[in-house]
Structure formats: C-alpha cells, structure tokens
Symmetry: C2
Subunit: 274 residues, 2 copies
C-alpha cells in the first residue's frame, strides 16, 4: 500500500485540507508526476482536493503534463504512460537522485586533467558530469547527447564534438550507424558512462541502439569509467552491454546496500562508494 504513505507525505502540511503550504505551479506539477508514477493512476478530484486548487487547475496541469508525455489523461484522472516509457523519460529522470548523481559526477570529474579528450554518454548522471567540466581549463568533449551539447555549447574552454546520428527524443541523443562510425574514428582519454541496470556484474540498458553506442564509446577510449546510482541495482532492463570488470574505475552511490556491495567484492570488482 504505497498509496497511503505518499498522500500523507503531501498532506501533513496541514491537518485539514490541502490548502496549507504554498507551492509553485511547477512544484505542484512535479508532485503530480510523482503521484502518478507511484500509484499508476490518480483521480482528478482527489488531486484538486489534495493540493487545495480547483478542478480546472488540475485539468490544465494534466493537459500540460500530457503534452510533455509524462502521463496520459483520461476521464476523471490520469495514468502513467506505460511505466517503461515513463521511467525512461528524460526530464523525469533528470530530476531524481540529484544529490547522489552530483556526487558521482564530482568524483569522476576529478580524474580528468586539462587538455584531456573525454567521451560522455547520454545518461543523466553524465550530464551532471558535463557541468563539472565547465570548470576545467581546456577540454575536448565528445558526446552523442543533445543535452550535454546544449549545456556546454559556447564555452570557450571546451571543444565540443557531437557524434551525430539519428535523433531519439526519449534519450535526447543521437544513435545508429552514423554515431557508431564516427565514434570508431575518434580516440579519447576517458569514456564516462552509466547503465540502466546492474545484475550481478553485468550491465544492461533497455534500448539496443543505446547499447551499440555505449560499446562504441568504450572501445574508443583509453580508460572507461562507470557511474552508478544505487538504484541501478534494483532496476531491470533487457539488453546486456558490458561487464563491470571492463571498467577501469567504477563509482557507485554510497546508499548501495551491503548485500550488493558484498557480492561485488566477491566477484573481485574494484569500486568506490561515493
């Protein structure tokens, strides 16, 4: 019954109805997204009461969120868009586990020295890494991620190279033959990447195209570095793309549970908890 806890968390602002703590519209929308994700389905009236706003406002919120592809609106409420697409939605992922991801990014960025050539994949964790690189004196960054590109473009200290390829809006990145061939022709000091899921010592991602891209990335870099939030150990995804042992360094969020850590040690995987 995850339901009760979540709704309470929202309601404890105020004993009575939801009118208590002031919330910005976008905070409210975020919260709606969280609820939809947790519950799979929400009632419009329920939301209106919960947030202490009118039905019309919720209607408008849901319309907007639907347009962004975060949920599907139906009569009387909304549902998660099919949780796979949902889980992989870029904006949503971007907003979860930020502190953990930022810590990982800082640790990884410390490896890089001015003048290095660095490859970054299209994950949200590595996007934060890109932000860390803004501070480095001079650096060449190769990526297939539009988000990284938008973040870094125009900085005088970064030479930005995009792989190109077919654009995929779910991951906000470029994939396919073009991407892989371009990566094949380049050479980097470091490759930083992430994975959707870890099972045992195997890494997985839900999308084939992304898997191919990650393979190409790894084989074009001198050293590969893996960044993993602890939640990746609980997720599931279809396609195997690498083994933990292939990485020079593995950084994992400190919230990793002990059992999982123990298993990694037994498998002789060198990793650092951040």
């Amino acid at each position: 019954m995850p339901s009760a806890a979540l709704w309470r968390a929202g309601k404890d602002n105020d004993g009575n109805n939801g009118g208590g703590a002031k919330m910005t519209p976008s905070e409210r929308r975020r919260e709606i997204v969280n609820l939809v994700m947790a519950e799979r389905t929400v009632q419009l009236d329920q939301l209106a009461e919960h947030f202490g706003v009118s039905r019309m406002t919720i209607h408008r919120d849901l319309d907007l969120l639907e347009e962004r592809g975060l949920l599907r609106k139906g009569r009387g409420g909304a549902t998660a868009e099919g949780s796979l697409l949902f889980e992989s939605n870029f904006h949503y992922r971007m907003q979860t586990e930020m502190p953990e991801k930022r810590a990982l990014a800082k640790a990884a960025a410390a490896l890089v020295e001015p003048g290095n050539v660095v490859m970054i994949d299209d994950s949200t964790t590595t996007l934060l890494l890109a932000e860390e690189f803004e501070a480095i004196e001079f650096i060449t960054i190769i990526t297939n991620s539009l988000a990284v590109c938008e973040r870094l473009r125009g900085r005088p200290n970064v030479h930005l190279i995009l792989t190109g390829g077919s654009y995929n809006d779910t991951f906000q990145g470029f994939y396919g033959l073009i991407c892989e061939q371009t990566l094949g022709k380049l050479r980097a000091d470091w490759a930083f990447l992430s994975a959707s899921s870890v099972i045992g010592t195997s890494l997985y991602h839900q999308d084939q195209e992304v898997v191919r891209m990650k393979r190409a990335l790894m084989s074009s870099a001198e050293h590969s570095v893996l960044l993993l939030t602890h939640s990746k150990f609980k997720a599931r995804a279809l396609n195997h793309f690498a083994d933990l042992s292939e990485f020079e360094k593995v950084f994992i969020g400190a919230d990793l549970d002990d059992a999982a850590a123990q298993r990694l040690r037994q498998a002789d995987i060198a990793f650092e908890l951040i």
Copy 2:
C-alpha cells in the same frame, strides 16, 4: 555618414524627443544592436535620450547585450565586439529580414513531398525552412545545424539526422571532417542552402569550414536549391563555394535590384523572385 540616417529613422516617431512610439524592451535592445553595428560605438546618454528612457535602463540593456556577446560595454557607452564576429552572430542574423526569409522558405518548402529526404545547411534562412517542414506528413531531415535540431526535435513526423562534427558557436552548427564524412555517406532528395554573398554568379561564405560543409551537402543531394535574400547581393565574403549555375532552383527575395537581376539573366541563370 550612416550615422545621421539611422538616428533619424529611430527619431521620426515623434518630433521632439524619443518618448513617442511605445517600444517593447526587446525591440529597443534590437535597435541598440543595430545602432552599435552601424556606428561601431554608441554613447549611453545618447541612447537614453533617443529612446526616452533612463540611463539605468540603458545600463541594464547593455549589460544584457554584453552577456549575449553582442557588444562590449565600456565607460559611457558600448562598442561593436569586432564587427566580423558581430555580423555573423547567429541571434543577430536571425532577427533580420524575417519576412523575406520566411517567404523564401515557404517557396522552397513547396518543392518537398512527404517521405522525402532533405538536407538543410546552417543558415538562418534555412532554419525558417525547417519550421515549414513541421507541417509535412513525414520527412527525413539531415542537418549540421544545432538550431534546426532544436527546432525539430521531438516532432513525430520528422526523422532527424544530425551530421555531428566539431561545434562552432558562431554558426550554431557542426563542422569538420566528421561532418563531411557523414554527409558523404548519406543521400538526399533535396539540399537547401544559402550563401553569405553573391558576386556575379559566384557564391561566397566567410568561413572555410562552412564552405566545405556546403560542398559536401550539395554533392550528396539529388537536387540543390539555393535561397538568397536580396541583401546577399550587397555583401562580401572571402571564400568561393559554388556557382549559381550548379543549382537546380534559385529563389531570390523580390527586393533584388533590377541591375543585379539583369546581370543574372544575361548569365543565363534561372531564378525565381519571391
């Protein structure tokens, strides 16, 4: 003495001082940019009087424009950032001659049929073309322009392919070997491009990298189409990149002066005034 004319053009709103016609802040800023470009240098007080606003407002405008790299603020006024960089600044170019560019874009878009594969270069004119393509049922678009990419990404009706390459912030596009090689491997029905300058029947652009990219674009497309605003006939640029006769279709803004049109006809160039 371009000075007098420009200031007058702004002033004729109102006989007395500049307080006459209401102007939005961004219109005012645009106008400031125009003035700085024409004069190379402007005085803060002069601007304040001209627009009928306080010094403080002009200060804030200049701060903002400086942040965008459109000018350099100094004591008492501002100067053009070095007019070459300036002239080729993307945002600035984007905002000039819009109606003419839009008309050209509409004419060009009419050539394309659903299912076509289309290449677009990085010019502002062709960016407007991208907007026209949003309406087409299904289309594959290949481009080296980040602006086109941002404009079209996420549309379900367009398959978007980016060439990749080294990012150049002045043109908001990707260039170099990667870009050219990728283009070499692709094949399109149409290539739409523009030029910086036309002299006789020769086309020029100020940047070598861009020239190479345009050549690659043209040689990978079945049909090449050129879009030119009339002002291109007055501009000058260094590098030759093609001849008008190489294009299947040439669309030119209707304001083209008669002498120039006559010369083109004499050279047996088929073109359409839009």
